[in-house]
């Protein structure tokens, strides 16, 4: 039995601690906002925050997340109004939306560490988050909006 601290709550988990955190979040804790895309760390859909850093939850064993502060899309802001969530809506960023929990978590971590990122920095940091619908221009636009207010 281990305890995972997710979105400010303690969750007990009595299963295999070597299972990727992604599946514990989704299947054991019911936090389905975090998405499975590839399971290989190639697409970024499963991005969550571990102690504030954006991490691919498919590549982290649940046991290795014990003692860390885990934040998922459901816990990014108590009312869903984190700056990144707001600009995402303002810029109508998503289409199908499947990858956007990961996109938003990645962007939120970027802005937390670099509130005024250059365009190159935005493109570099976000390049690991793939979007099937091709919303890349609006993703960059929204992050610019968040960092400059324009």
């Amino acid at each position: 039995m281990v305890t995972l601290k997710v979105n400010g709550r303690d969750y007990p988990y009595d299963g295999d601690p070597t299972v990727p955190l992604l599946w514990v979040l989704r299947d054991e804790l019911g936090l389905t906002g975090t998405k499975f895309g590839c399971g290989e760390g190639l697409c970024g859909a499963c991005t969550v925050h571990l102690d504030g850093a954006a991490m691919r939850s498919c590549g982290i064993q649940a046991g290795d997340a014990v003692g860390k502060t885990i934040v998922t899309i459901e816990g990014l802001h108590s009312e869903g109004n984190h700056l990144v969530q707001r600009v995402w809506r303002e810029a109508n960023v998503p289409q199908c939306g499947y990858c956007h929990a990961g996109q938003i978590m990645q962007a939120a971590a970027l802005l937390a560490s670099s509130p005024k990122p250059s365009r190159d920095e935005v493109l570099t940091v976000m390049s690991g988050n793939i979007c099937r619908c091709g919303c890349y221009q609006r993703i960059a636009e929204a992050i610019t909006l968040a960092s400059t207010g324009a």
Partner: protein, 377 residues
């Protein structure tokens, strides 16, 4: 508020007011106007043939659309198509709302369950949902708008031609009297539905939403907070998670398997053979060996421990390298000219610089295929 669907088939090519029938059956809240339309575009109802009638099942399973208005004025519009990122879950109800002269901020979109007898063809593919359904959706919205206008005209003792719908309100132009959609819903429900031949569709210049680019997708907020439900997020009480080891060669099949090591993986509960469809399976499952576990991660670990003997079947010798070469060789052959505007070939001969490139690749996507099954045994 109760949202219900017409339990009885509606003859093709008619619009009927179903609310009284449903009221009698006690499944619609009093004062709720429900409109059901059976709209087969190939019938006399359509102004043009859209092709929807030729869809599989389309000529038997008529498209239906349903609008309900509750006494508060909340308009609920059913969408019969699945969202896959094109925004169709928003755009078709938006078309209804436009013809209805509904205020989008008082519109709620409700997903139809999979039931082609009730909702018509629900095959959301081919980039044709709007093309196939814009006409029936417009007719449905327009019919309800006219019923609301007639209800208001009756209330005020004026001719329907003197009133008009304007953004969720019916206005008597001469006197300035107004009545909201919610307060008119019950009276409108008691009126006969105008025949399609009498429907007045909007002139495109009157469109409020269509083509304006001002409406955000209905799922926008839910997507940004992780609450938009995708197929893979469906949860059934007592749910288990399974992954399937499938034949490594298309058209191959299972010979035998040994699950003993897989069953030792923590969290794995069962290993079962899944019968597939015979080749060519087309859209049907190809079968394999399913590992059932308490979570997907454990199921994947279990799958990796399976010992399986496959019969690779007729494609065992397929070689993707030689197939690619074959494609490239074929691409080098002269093609059939379908269209040659301005004589591109002549222009290429005299061009200062010619850039030549060969494009090719495999279309792939980030798509998490999943299905949820309720087992009764």
């Amino acid at each position: 508020m109760t949202h219900m669907f017409d339990p009885d088939p509606i003859p093709t090519g008619t619009i009927v007011n179903v609310s009284r029938r449903l009221l009698l059956k006690g499944i619609v809240a009093s004062g709720t106007l429900v409109l059901g339309a059976s709209l087969r575009p190939s019938s006399a109802m359509a102004d043009w043939a859209t092709g929807a009638g030729a869809m599989p099942g389309g000529t038997v399973n008529d498209p239906h659309v349903y609008i309900s208005i509750d006494p508060s004025g909340l308009v609920t519009i059913i969408t019969n198509r699945s969202e896959m990122g094109t925004g169709v879950r928003t755009s078709l109800p938006m078309v209804v709302a436009d013809e209805l002269e509904a205020d989008w901020s008082h519109v709620r979109v409700q997903q139809a369950p999979g039931d082609e007898k009730k909702y018509g063809n629900q095959d959301t593919d081919g980039s044709r949902s709007v093309r196939h359904f814009i006409q029936p959706m417009r007719q449905c919205g327009a019919a309800m708008r006219m019923m609301l206008e007639q209800a208001a005209a009756r209330r005020w003792g004026v001719d329907p031609s003197e009133v008009k719908a304007d953004n969720h309100v019916i206005v008597h132009v001469a006197s300035g009297r107004k009545a909201g959609y919610g307060e008119l819903a019950a009276a409108a429900a008691a009126l006969p539905v105008p025949p399609v031949s009498g429907l007045k569709l909007k002139d495109p210049s009157q469109f409020r939403y269509i083509g304006k680019g001002t409406i955000s997708i209905v799922d926008l907020h839910d997507i940004t907070v992780g609450r938009a439900p995708y197929g893979i997020d469906a949860r059934i009480p007592g749910v288990k998670f399974a992954v399937v080891a499938r034949p490594p060669v298309v058209g191959g099949k299972l010979v035998t398997f040994d699950a003993s090591e897989a069953m030792k993986v923590p969290g794995v509960e069962k290993v079962v053979e899944v019968k597939g469809w015979p080749w060519p399976s087309k859209f049907m499952p190809v079968g394999g060996v399913a590992v059932v576990a308490r979570n997907t991660g454990s199921a994947i670990k279990g799958r990796d421990k399976l010992k399986i003997v496959w019969d690779d079947g007729p494609n065992a010798t397929y070689d993707s390298v030689s197939f690619r070469k074959e494609m490239e060789d074929t691409a080098g052959n002269p093609g059939t000219v379908v269209r040659n505007d301005g004589d591109a070939l002549a222009a290429l001969k005299t061009a200062a610089k010619v850039i030549s490139a060969q494009a090719g690749g495999i279309s792939g996507a980030i798509s998490a295929h999943s299905s949820s099954v309720r087992s009764l045994s």
